[in-house]
C-alpha cells in the first residue's frame, strides 16, 4: 500500500502564483472556468486547459462568463471567472442584478492592470473604477500582493463565498504576478 502510494505521489507542487491558484481551485472542486484572457493570466489559463479536471473556455464578454458560472452553480457545478481590470469594469449591471440579489457565490479572479507601472492611460483610469464599484455593492474583495498569503486568501475566500452565498473578487496585484510592462 505504501509502495503504491509512493508510486502515485504527484510531482512537487507548483509554488508559482498560478500553480497555487490552480491547486486551490481543484481542492475546492471548482471545475468550470470561463475567462476573457489577459497577458498576465497566460500561464494559469494554459495550465487549466491542460488539466482534464477543468472545463475551461473563452467567452466573448465577462458578463457572459458570469451568467455561465451562475447557471452552473445553481445546477450544482462550481465555477470561477478569470478576467482583467477592464473586463471587471463591464460587470456592474450583472453584479447588481444577478450575482448580488440572487445571492450567487460568484468567484472572480481579476488580473490588476492600470497600476504599478501601467503604460496605457485608459487602463490606469478604468482601474480606479474597480474598488468603488465593489465597495458600492458591499462586495467582498481582496487584493493579493504576496505569494505567502495567496493560498490562504484564495482558499478562505472561495469557502466564504460558497458558505455565505456571496460574490467575491480576488484582485491579483502586479506585486504578486509581475504585471504587464512595456
Amino acid at each position: 500500500m505504501a509502495a503504491a502510494e509512493a508510486q502515485t505521489t504527484p510531482q512537487a507542487p507548483d509554488k508559482s502564483w498560478h500553480g497555487i491558484v490552480l491547486e486551490t481551485l481543484k481542492r475546492n472542486e471548482i471545475r468550470l472556468v470561463p475567462y476573457v484572457p489577459d497577458r498576465v493570466l497566460t500561464s494559469l489559463i494554459k495550465n487549466i486547459h491542460a488539466d482534464p479536471f477543468f472545463t475551461t473556455f473563452p467567452t466573448a464578454r465577462e458578463e457572459e462568463a458570469v451568467g455561465i458560472v451562475s447557471g452552473a452553480w445553481m445546477a450544482g457545478m462550481r465555477g470561477a471567472v478569470l478576467m482583467q481590470t477592464s473586463g471587471f469594469a463591464t460587470l456592474a449591471n450583472v453584479l447588481a442584478s444577478l450575482a448580488v440579489p440572487y445571492q450567487i457565490p460568484l468567484i472572480m479572479f481579476v488580473s490588476e492592470r492600470g497600476t504599478l507601472g501601467e503604460f496605457n492611460y485608459g487602463q490606469s483610469l478604468v482601474c480606479r473604477t474597480m474598488r468603488p464599484v465593489l465597495d458600492s455593492l458591499a462586495m467582498e474583495h481582496h487584493t493579493v500582493t504576496r505569494l505567502d498569503e495567496l493560498e490562504f486568501i484564495v482558499d478562505r475566500s472561495i469557502k466564504q463565498a460558497i458558505t455565505t452565498q456571496a460574490p467575491v473578487a480576488l484582485i491579483l496585484s502586479p506585486l504578486l504576478t509581475g504585471g504587464k510592462v512595456l
Binding site: 464578454r61 451568467g67 451562475s70 457545478m77
Partner: protein, 204 residues
Amino acid sequence: MSKQANTSARNTKIMNRFDLTSRLVAKLKHEEAVVGGIGNTNFDLWATGHRPQNFYMLGSMGLAFPIALGVALAQPTRRVFALEGDGSLLMQLGCLSTIATLAPKNLCMVVMDNGVYQITGAQPIPGSATADIVALAVGSGITNSSWAADEEDFERLIEQSLSASGPTLIGVRIDDKPGTGQTRRDPVQLRESFMRGMGIRQGL
C-alpha cells in the same frame, strides 16, 4: 406591428409569446430546465404556471442563454431550454459563438422576435427591419437553427430538440403584446426554488 425583415421570404406566421411558451411547457415531461430572459419573456413563463425547474431573470439583460449554458454544462443529462427576446440576444450575440464552440447537446434556445423593445414602449430594436436572428445564429456556428413557420412547426422543432445531438435555436416571430402577468420579484426565492428543481437543494 413593427416592420420585419424579409417578411414574405421568411414565410413565418406572427405568433404570440404566451401561447408559444404554453406549448413548450406542455411538452416538458422530464423536469427539463427552462430559463426565462428579462421582462416579458420570463413574465409569460411565470404565467404558464410556476415549475421548480424554471429560472426567471429579473435583470442581467442578455444572459438567458449563458445562464442556460451553465445549467446545461452542469447537468448534461437534463434538457435545458432558454427563452430570450431578440433585443436581449443582441446585447450578448457573442454567446452564440461560445455555445457553438462548446456544442452542448442538451440546450435549446428560443428567440422571441417582435422587432421591438416591447416593455420600454415598443421602440424598434436595431436591425429589426434588416437583420435575421436565425441567420446570425447559423453564422455563429449554431447550424441547427430555424424559424418556426407556425405553432405546429414550433412544436415540431421543440420535439426535435428534445433528441438533438447538438445545440438548437428556434426563432419565432411574435406580436407586440405585453407579457401575461408578472413574475414575483423575489430573487432569492426564485433562485432557491430553481435549485430545488435542479435536485441539488432540499427545502428547510
